[in-house]
Symmetry: C2
Subunit: 403 residues, 2 copies
């Protein structure tokens, strides 16, 4: 049995929000928590010392991409991902099932898991061989998913057993069952078939996974209430250590919140992870609905693209998505920090003008500084959220932020 325990420290009185702690073999994760994403065993632009400085409690790595580069067997030989990236704290790994969507229909139709524009996943991974955009790189059957590599076009077959084997090689602490993440374009019939597959794979994942690793089951079912009901019940009835909610999550954020609202009441006390979601408003809404952890590339990807977080007391709001775009000409001569109320080392040391310059000159140092700021912002926000739940003032904090 995996060393794994979830403790709810404080249940909010006015919502499903809860403050807790996930105990893993590599330490605790205080929840609610935003898990930084380090796709290729590196949070893009940062090293593990930076994660330590940021006070990151854990990180998430990507099974599919690490299988391709440098290879999970290579990582195993080198003593596992923690040793590889010199990060001693808990690691989540996804199962590769999200890539069944992101490299499949999402790539083919250029859409996201909640229906809006999908910032192409491979842009920053920089494939050495550019495959034509729009190509669906997956073939999905009941047996599993065949992927065509974005790097060299080679073919890779993932099924539940393979996904468990890779995640075992990676030696992550919290792994995900293999699933098929469907698309907002998928109709009821297709989503039902895919869900049935996901359920079969869930059972197989439980059977094949390394028992020293904690494992989360993934609920699918798209934006169809009866399917989500069935899936929530099915996954909840299996002896997973935790429960994840997978996409597709409808066409709008309202749809997403509706889906979460369908699912959560069917779940018991195990920890709940919302896959791939993490804008500020999503975080508040999802915490309110009882989600414990999230992972999302938005905070770090947006940083690289010039979007830097600002606090409500510094002008951040739902309208501006709590961020400014540092590429703007108005920051050229702006000697103030990104956010005068932020205590991150970037705001302590550098001006908007300097970051504007580094961004616009495409200096490498920009990417790290921007990422440090945005992650600091997210992790401190999660601290505030946890604190507010413990102090019975989560609703107040949410109102301060979302209005």
């Amino acid at each position: 049995m995996a060393e794994f325990e979830f403790e709810i420290i404080k249940q909010d009185k006015n919502s499903r929000a809860r403050a807790g702690a996930i105990h893993t073999r590599r330490g605790d994760i205080e929840t609610p928590y935003f898990v930084p994403v380090g796709t290729l065993a590196s949070v893009r632009g940062l090293d593990s010392s930076d994660l330590q400085m940021l006070g990151a409690q854990c990180a998430l790595i990507n099974t599919y991409y690490l299988h391709l580069k440098p290879g999970d067997e290579t990582i195993k030989k080198l003593g596992g991902t923690h040793k590889f990236m010199n990060f001693g704290l808990p690691l989540f790994s996804d199962s590769g099932g999200f890539q069944a969507f992101s490299l499949g229909l999402a790539r083919e139709h250029n859409i996201g898991k909640i229906g809006n524009f999908f910032p192409e996943e491979t842009v920053e991974v920089k494939p050495q061989q550019d495959l034509p955009r729009g190509e669906n790189l997956t073939k999905i059957t009941d047996k599993g998913v065949e992927f065509k590599s974005i790097y060299d076009g080679s073919r890779h077959f993932f099924d539940a057993k393979k996904s468990m084997e890779i995640q075992s090689n990676l030696d992550s602490d919290i792994i995900m069952a293999f699933d098929e993440c469907t698309s907002p374009l998928s109709d009821y019939d297709y989503t039902k078939i895919a869900m049935a597959r996901t359920h079969d794979w869930a059972k197989q994942s439980l059977e094949y996974h390394n028992k020293d690793q904690a494992i989360y089951g993934i609920i699918q079912g798209g934006y169809f209430k009866d399917l989500r009901d069935i899936s929530a019940k099915f996954i909840n009835d299996l002896p997973f250590d935790g429960i994840a909610i997978g996409g597709s999550l409808g066409k709008t954020k309202a749809d997403m919140h509706e889906i979460i609202d369908w699912v959560i009441p069917q779940l018991d006390g195990r920890p709940r992870h919302l896959l791939g979601i993490g804008e500020i408003d999503d975080i508040f809404e999802s915490v309110e609905q009882g989600i414990d952890t999230f992972d999302c590339v938005a905070a770090t990807r947006n940083a690289r693209r010039g979007c830097l977080f600002i606090l409500p007391e510094s002008g951040g709001s739902l309208a501006n998505k709590f961020r400014l775009n540092i590429s703007g000409a108005k920051y050229k001569n702006d000697g103030d920090p990104i956010d005068a109320n932020c205590h991150c080392p970037v705001c302590g040391n550098y001006s908007r003008a300097y970051l504007h310059h580094l961004h616009n000159a495409r200096e490498l140092s920009y990417f790290r500084l921007a990422t440090i700021h945005n992650l600091w912002f997210m992790l401190r926000l999660m601290e505030k959220i946890r604190e507010s739940i413990k102090n019975g003032r989560f609703a107040e904090l949410e109102k301060e932020w979302l209005g």
Copy 2:
């Protein structure tokens, strides 16, 4: 008068090598010293906290590129480059004269200042508007140099007065006189004409420069002994605070050493800077010849391209240029640090396998980690060289390294 003093602490008995200290208004530089290059007010991939961690005593910024981005007037408004990049230690700035070569004949013919392949300067600056390679972007007359911007094709005219004005705006501590850096392709007659211009501009630079800044004159004259003699004498006779030796430096390293050997005996006790040179063997040879400071992008650029330094006791030698290429397949499963005898934080925390992975996956974090290692290596080498001169064992150290 600029606050500037050079003190020779120890003169080597067997060579022209000397250990000293340059006192500037922003602190001391112990010499011999390798000055890290931060072209756009950022040592590529690093921030100023990294420079502090590395124990960098100073850095060099680029007048031409900072004039274009973000503009020296912008930097002036923001309180100068030190405040802009949050770096409190002495800054050198070059004069823009090197770009008369690098964006001119070097770009046109794809050659370097010592005749070999010239790694195109603009590759990493990433122009937004790609101008055709091979275009000479300069027009040089006795009045000055007209540059066509690599960014937007706009035209910029530099003369001695303008260069001094820009460097004053940048508020660097040690500035360079405006010069024309000629090419190994330039013949005797052209080199002589260019040298005469450089001498005129030297006098003008002395006249127009901000008197709070220390200023170095630049010796030109190509690979022509009589011209180098004339130039060394001319520049040495002017009241500069220090003397720099500019390229072109012949067609081979032997030519370069010959040129330095022609020039040095003509110079008095002021500090001597060798512009744009910094391979390991060059450093030893130049220190031996009496050079006090160098600047060079090689250490940092090579890092970004996968070439990481290794010490002699770890297999580094003249033959392998004291480096390994981390992209090599043999490092894929190599759990050892880059250099087991190196005490840098990268070698303390990460394996060759991890750096190989980050490099080959083009992860952003690679560039910083590689740069930290290579700069640590160079700065520690300079410490060893200084120490060896003080202890009367420079020749021994040189032999340990170069054989």
